[in-house]
């Protein structure tokens, strides 16, 4: 399988590293493609929208003429994993905890609302063990960096993990959104869950 990673800005190569290690094993085979232009997007079987600054990625995605095509493909069922800023890009509604509503370019494909910088500034960034039943009993180390949280706008969005009352991992059909950074750990279970979504 060919996994695309939207490569304009942010933690792009961290996902490449994890996927390479997964593909070097026996169970999965595939390759990674850094997606920055339309031609590259048409080749992929699934795409990761990495963490970074959602405003920056949104502007570049628009400038390079990828927004429309990516939106259409996700609506057409392309499996997508959005991490932090990537999840913000997927949301239908975006507000900032301090600044409030601000216009920004997004794909607007998933029935979630996002509150950016919900936990505070960098100084409040944290790590904590999460319980994510779909990937097993063993706790998953969640690394939250200026992280957002999600609100469901629709009942067919499934909540996979929470910190207190706040949802930090959600699933809707072909779309998986997480507020933390699995690519900064050696735990591949969320990436494997995504690969299973592509296999289906």
């Amino acid at each position: 399988m060919k996994i695309g990673i939207l490569g304009f800005q942010g933690g792009v190569y961290e996902h490449v590293g994890i996927l390479k290690r997964i593909f070097s094993g026996e169970k999965y085979s595939g390759e990674t493609i850094i997606v920055r232009r339309g031609g590259e997007l048409s080749k992929v079987d699934g795409i990761i929208l990495p963490g970074g600054e959602s405003t920056t990625i949104g502007i570049l995605m628009d400038k390079m003429g990828l927004t429309g095509e990516l939106r259409d493909r996700i609506r057409g069922g392309l499996p997508v994993l959005g991490v932090c800023a990537g999840a913000v890009l997927m949301a239908k509604k975006v507000v900032d905890k301090v600044v409030g509503e601000k216009e920004q370019n997004t794909l607007s494909v998933m029935d979630i609302g996002v509150i950016r910088n919900y936990f505070g500034r960098q100084i409040d960034s944290f790590e904590v063990d999460l319980h994510i039943p779909v990937i097993g009993e063993k706790p998953f180390r969640g690394v939250f960096i200026r992280a957002p949280i999600f609100e469901r706008l629709n009942n067919n969005v499934e909540i996979l993990a929470q910190v207190g009352e706040a949802s930090v991992a959600v699933l809707q059909n072909n779309m998986l959104a997480v507020a933390f950074h699995p690519e900064l750990t050696n735990d591949y279970r969320l990436h494997l869950l995504f690969l299973e979504m592509i296999k289906k």
């Binding site: 942010g10 961290e14 994890i18 963490g51 600044v99 100084i123 960034s125 180390r141 950074h181 050696n186």
Partner: protein
Amino acid sequence: MKEGLQFSCGRYYSVSFEDIVDFFYRLAELADRLRDEGRFFEYFPRKPSDNLDMPVKATVRVKHGFPVFQKGGVCMDVTNVEQAYIAEEAGAVSVMVLDKLPYDVRKIGGVARMADPKVIEKVMNSITIPVMAKVRIGHYTEAMILEELGVDMIDESEVLTPADEARHINKWLFRVPFVNGARDLGEALRRISEGASMIRTKGEAGTGNVSEAVKHMRRIMGEIRKMRNMDMEDRVRRAREMGVDPGLLDLTIRIGRLPVVNFAAGGIATPADAALMMWLGADGVFVGSGIFKSSDPLERAKAIVLATSMWRDPDVVLEAQKMISESKSMMGIDIRSLKPEEMLQSRGV
């Protein structure tokens, strides 16, 4: 240009982020044991326990992880809220709040200090992207003030007048991550040992002349490449000469790049400058006077963001370069016309 001419080094880590984090925690193990006996001062990070039922802040993973999400982006120097809005609108990944732009610091002279906390706070409440600010080298109290204020990252910067001529801040003591300037591999690794979560080239700030940044980036990358073929014994000797931990030097050589995020800074004024620095191995760029000392700041900011992200594609860099006009670039200063005492880069080694 042919594919083969592009440097392949630099961006991809051959080990995982977690392995790098583990390295820093291992450095700290002895210190941890001594500290428990009350016999060691706080240098190197503390390792959080393996099971975290409650959230833990300011770990190495969180502090060194923050700059990972700045990669491929542009951090822009601003002096007020209006400029910060322009930076955000143009697609900056963060802003650096200063009292005066480096060009003005150079021109006006006198003592350059931390920016006014009231201005920094106003910027923090107006934009959604991270806000950084500079402190003088060795000035613990300015850093404590900025940490208290809640800036996202502190730049311990040679652009401001050093408070301590001989020492840098022990950055492991802080919850907020730091970025430091470096001219060569030794400086970079010394700053990383002191706890810097990110490195940038020093370049020569406020000149609009990219040549020093090029020199520093080439030197850092070149030294790493050169040492790949060195005997183990010679590496240890070099580490001693540079005043850095041999383990840290070995890790750097093994992965073929600095083990933290490495940006370019100091003299970047055009989209082509930014793309050049990316090609030389930078993970992203800081632009100081280059944007708000030009007469087309918004367009220029947008163009530099585009060129930094899309540096591999000459057609896009051309488009970015067309967005600006050379007659509107800042005038710039020839480095050779500067006296040694006017060079900012030699502060804090």
